[in-house]
Symmetry: none
Subunit: 221 residues, 2 copies
DNA sequence: TCTAGGAGTTTGATGAGTCAAACATTCCGC
DNA sequence: GCGGAATGTTTGACTCATCAAACTCCTAGA
């Protein structure tokens, strides 16, 4: 189990990368969210990298690995369920619950969490509209959509492929575009009708937009 | 605010010194309760002394100062209210809540604690019979009272018997209700004017309330 | 009264988490 | 494309919490 501090960094990185304006999770921003100095954040992010929870290179942006994303989702889930519980069952005010949940989220067992979730009727989002990741770390936030809807520069995870033809699937497999794979959208050229993708650990490739449209992705954090 | 570790040491010292058999809070015992090695406990107890929370001299017993007792009481109060809350409101089983409360007690704010206390009707003891210190750190601890004042389901230890008649005492001895014995209050039927008790290791028995009133007990841990 | 062994202490080490200050790199505006 | 501002990194230091190993103290029984 990750320490409290590690959980806080993971959560910070996840929420930063989820922010609409596609802001990278940079050291300074992470430090600001967690409430430490940049030097501390640097040290910690290195630890996350060593632990396989994030990927990071000097002067580069920080990205969570699948494992890190899973862990961060879990923290977020705990946070939001606790918040909702404190408001709906205990009757605290929304203004008070954030700070409270900030501490309780690290102390709650899976068993108790599930019980609270049950009492609340297994909510899918909190009243802020923030999605509550399910017990498997998935959140509605990321309803899969065609990769062609991603902004250039975005990262996503392949979720589903609509074309079931063997030839197409084999092509995707060779390219490294299997479900679960992270992929970066390098460029979209609507005039040429093409999209350039770079699957993690592979070389980039260019597809036609109609073909790419059959590849559904969820935004990656 | 004391760290989590400090709170755990304080709690350990308080419960050790409260134990009926007048056992001193020694380093080895504290270490065992907290779950660390004696060398660690020595180091920590020195810190408690420096912080004015405990008094301690080399090779001597550890005693809490007023300030330390106050802080320890507070931890105990948080622990027991959380336990009670988890059982009565959340519906967890008694067997599960101790470990949970062990972590939550360090993460709960005064505001939330008070709210839980309110939801529970400001209880004075938990179903184990453990007293819940009030917000000022005072606890009913161990003032013996008639067993008829216990809540059904409570556990207690026989402290004193007011009726000195031999016949009555012999009856109690045969039933297993000797001072020091732990006893569970199974049921109280005020209409029938009877109380059903189950001394530890014996079969249950039913007494009339006027008779039972002469049996004084202390809440058991 | 002497001593064996249990209880307690000290020492030196470690890892987590943090900061300030000095240094390095990157990026943006001209 | 250059230079300063913004950003990021390194270094050295500190506290908290912990342990193992070596040591010291105390006491109960022969």
């Amino acid at each position: 189990m990750a320490t409290e501090a590690v959980e806080n960094y993971l959560k910070a990185i996840l929420t930063l990368s989820q922010e609409s304006d596609a802001a990278d999770a940079t050291i300074t921003r992470i430090a600001a969210v967690v409430g430490v100095t940049p030097s501390t954040a640097t040290t910690m992010v290195k630890r996350l990298d060593r632990a396989g929870l994030a990927r990071y290179e000097r002067y580069g942006a920080v990205r969570l690995t699948a494992k890190g994303r899973r862990a961060a989702s879990d923290v977020l889930r705990r946070h939001r369920i606790v918040e909702l519980f404190l408001v709906q069952i205990v009757g605290l005010d929304w203004s008070e619950v954030h700070a409270e949940a900030e501490r309780l989220e690290h102390a709650i067992s899976p068993r108790l969490l599930d019980r609270l979730d049950e009492m609340l009727g297994r909510p899918r989002s909190d009243p802020h509209g923030d999605p509550i990741p399910d017990a498997d770390g998935r959140s509605d936030h990321a309803r899969p959509g065609p990769i062609t809807a991603c902004a250039p520069g975005a990262h996503a995870a392949v979720a589903r492929v609509l074309d079931q033809g063997a030839e197409f699937l084999q092509f995707l497999a060779r390219a490294g575009l299997t479900p679960g794979t992270r992929v970066a959208v390098v460029a979209i050229d609507s005039i040429a009708g093409s999209i350039t993708l770079k699957p993690e650990g592979r070389t980039a490739l260019t597809l036609s937009l109609p073909v790419a449209q059959r590849i559904l992705v969820t935004p990656a954090f």
